[in-house]
């Protein structure tokens, strides 16, 4: 039985894990870097150990140092959170070797999930559809053309050594493909001295829909429904919701069965996520497994009524799942907004610094997981996620309206946040009607609409703003007067000495 857990992480997820541990009477061990001396996770844990400098490589990624803490503190399990070491199979193996219960899949399964090519092959074996394309590298343009004709145009030609827009080309017919193959090859050789090309179907207006996988050490496997995470910027999720507006009960079950197969195919244990792209045509294609607890897990907790961290601990303890798929029912609707410290108008550049004051939203069916407290600091060394604001509703619109109200109540001083953008999105017809896709922001010009909303907002506040300016001047006038009279007093005193 797990009795003491080290959380090899920081920020809101460290606090989230500790909450469940505390309720279950499990001792918690925090680790922290120089930058986190005043962070809440250090203050909340039963024990807290300093592990090094601010840069992650010197602290939160320092496997040996973290192992030392585990061994010296008598920790029997480690929760990796997300990010940092959470999907590092070397770390999972190191824990296994040292008889520390790694709360997550086995190192072997994690390694398989992390190797995109091998994982894709395993899925194909298990009849889980992946994005159509070449099973591996293509040797020449003619093989690429054959595959393109099999899967249908448009296709992407990608050099596996490319990146950042180089070594990738969208082609829509045989002629373009023949030309493109040469271009991609030469671009790739020019950039890195070698080329290796794969062919993949190009999907338009795709949605990102993922399933929560859950599998115990005895092979019992269920899914805990889907989440739609299509609203993204730079391939990073901003807003998630469950259920997805395009998944009905039949579809949920159909894809759910694939998810169970996927988990079995990689011998997955504990909680994980199977990510899919959904084409505009309605097809689902497996993309990858996230072998960890995910940022957006609270919305699945809200509709399932399950505590996922407790579930993770139970599975790690070798317990058998206490339910079958047929026992699980979705209840209501939930939305998560990731409250990031970033400037929407500066291409989402991080905004860091002290937060002198913060008001955390609350209320019926509102949950806010955050590391913020008045006087805390948003560090430039770590990711920009300050808080996860989640709301539940009996209907989708109830959860949406509660979110808008909670966003409005969320007052974070000192840094720029993504809150204004989320208000614009959640008020939009496109969001209300579930017209989602991974290019949602660009497709519906959300940033331009945000700008207009902000201008309107300022116009609406003309009178209170002017009143503020008038009163501020008055305040300063009276302050200067009282200072003058103080100075006068002081002067009088000096004269009388």
């Amino acid at each position: 039985m797990i009795e003491k857990v080290l959380i090899a992480n920081r920020g809101e997820i460290a606090l989230r894990v500790m909450k469940t541990c505390k309720a279950l009477g499990i001792k918690t061990v925090a680790v922290y870097s120089d930058e986190d001396v005043n962070s809440l996770h250090v203050k909340t844990a039963d024990e807290s150990y300093y592990i090094g400098e601010a840069a992650p490589a010197k602290s939160y990624l320092n496997q040996e140092k973290i192992l030392d803490v585990m061994l010296s503190s008598g920790t029997d399990a480690v929760h990796p959170g997300y990010g940092f070491l959470s999907e590092n199979d070397d770390f999972a193996r190191l824990c296994e070797k040292n008889k520390i219960n790694f709360i997550g899949p086995s190192a072997d399964s994690m390694n398989l999930c992390g190797d995109k090519m091998r994982c894709k092959a395993a899925m194909l074996d298990a009849n889980v559809p992946t994005v159509p394309g070449s099973p591996g590298l293509v040797k020449d343009a003619d093989e690429a053309e054959k595959i393109a004709n099999d899967i249908g145009y448009p296709v992407l030609l990608k050099s596996v050594y490319g990146g950042g827009g180089r070594g990738i080309r969208l082609v829509t017919n045989d002629k373009e493909l023949q030309e493109g193959f040469e271009t991609v090859t030469s671009e790739s050789i020019a950039a890195v001295g070698k080329s290796a090309i794969i062919v993949e179907k190009f999907l338009e207006k795709t949605r990102h829909i993922e399933y929560q996988m859950c599998r115990d050490k005895h092979g019992n496997t269920v899914h805990l429904f889907e989440r739609e995470c299509s609203i993204q910027r730079r391939n990073q999720k901003l807003i998630e919701q469950t259920p997805s507006p395009v998944v009905d009960e039949a579809k949920r079950e159909e894809i759910g069965e694939l998810v169970v197969k996927a988990a079995q195919a990689v011998d997955y244990t504990n909680l994980g996520t199977a990510e899919f792209l959904r084409a505009d045509s309605g097809e689902f294609y497996f993309i990858e497994i996230n072998a960890r607890l995910q940022v957006e897990h609270p919305i699945s907790e809200m509709v399932s009524g399950l505590d996922f961290v407790k579930l993770q601990l139970d599975i790690a303890n070798g317990e058998t799942l206490p339910f079958k798929q047929s026992d699980l029912k979705m209840n209501g609707y939930a939305i998560e907004c990731r409250i990031n410290a970033e400037d929407t108008f500066l291409d989402f550049a991080p905004s860091t610094g002290p937060v002198p004051y913060v008001t955390i939203p609350s209320g019926p069916s509102v949950r806010c997981d955050t590391y913020l407290y008045p006087g805390c600091t948003v560090s430039p060394f770590y990711d920009s996620l300050m808080a996860k604001l989640c709301t539940w509703g009996k209907t989708f619109d109830e959860s949406r309206l509660r979110m808008l109200s909670a966003l409005d109540d969320f007052d974070i001083q000192g840094v720029e946040t993504s809150i204004p953008l989320y208000k614009t999105i959640l008020n939009s017809e496109e969001y209300k009607t579930g017209n989602l896709s991974t290019d949602f922001l660009k497709r519906f010009e959300m940033i331009e609409r945000l700008e207009k909303d902000l201008i309107q907002d300022r116009k609406d506040k003309q009178i209170p703003a002017i009143a503020s300016a008038i009163m501020h001047s008055e305040f300063y006038k009276s302050k200067v007067q009282s200072q003058n009279s103080r100075n006068q007093n002081w002067k009088n005193k000096m004269d009388s000495v």
Binding site: A465, A467, S468, A469
Partner: protein
């Protein structure tokens, strides 16, 4: 005092009419009167009830002519000046003292936003000849006497310095 709120076009009059009690003021904005009840106030924040609506303001940075603050969560700025138009008008000769001059000069540096009375227009004293943007506020440059606008020296979009000639009015 005149105020201009970011993203609005109008320049608005605002003043304290009366101190009603220790924490209450009657103020006037545009032509409407409001009662301001101060709940908390220091150099950084102010909480007040304006005609029964609560507002919370944090002052970020305030200079003589521009204040940046966060009003009910919205970051915004307000420009203010003591009757800039009037000062400019007066200094241009609009007041009795300089009524005889024919040269209309800019009394402030700024950018020409629009020319309201073009070459050859007939203007009355006090008519707007052109509009400048200065300190983020739009300021009308008004004719110092009746006459015909001649020799306009400015173009829309150009910058002018203090004392630059705008036009002759003859």
């Amino acid at each position: 005092m005149k105020y201009k709120v970011q993203d609005t076009d109008e320049i608005v009059d605002g003043e304290i009419l009366e101190k009603l009690s220790q924490n209450e003021y009657k103020i006037k904005i545009k032509d409407n009167e409001y009662v301001v009840k101060i709940l908390n106030m220091d150099s950084n924040i102010m909480e007040f009830v304006l005609n029964n609506e609560f507002h919370s303001v944090r002052y970020v940075d305030s200079q003589t002519s521009e204040m940046n603050f966060i009003v009910d969560g919205s970051s915004m700025s307000v420009n203010m000046n003591s009757h800039l138009d009037d000062i400019v008008y007066k200094n241009s000769g609009g007041s009795d003292s300089g009524a005889g001059q024919s040269t209309l000069r800019s009394q402030i540096p700024g950018k020409v936003v629009s020319i309201n009375a073009g070459e050859g227009s007939e203007v009355k004293k006090g008519d707007t000849v052109c509009t400048l943007e200065s300190m983020k506020m739009q300021v009308a440059v008004k004719a110092q006497k009746d006459g015909i606008v001649k020799g306009i020296k400015i173009k829309e979009g150009n910058s002018v310095n203090k004392n630059d000639i705008i036009a002759e009015i003859e």
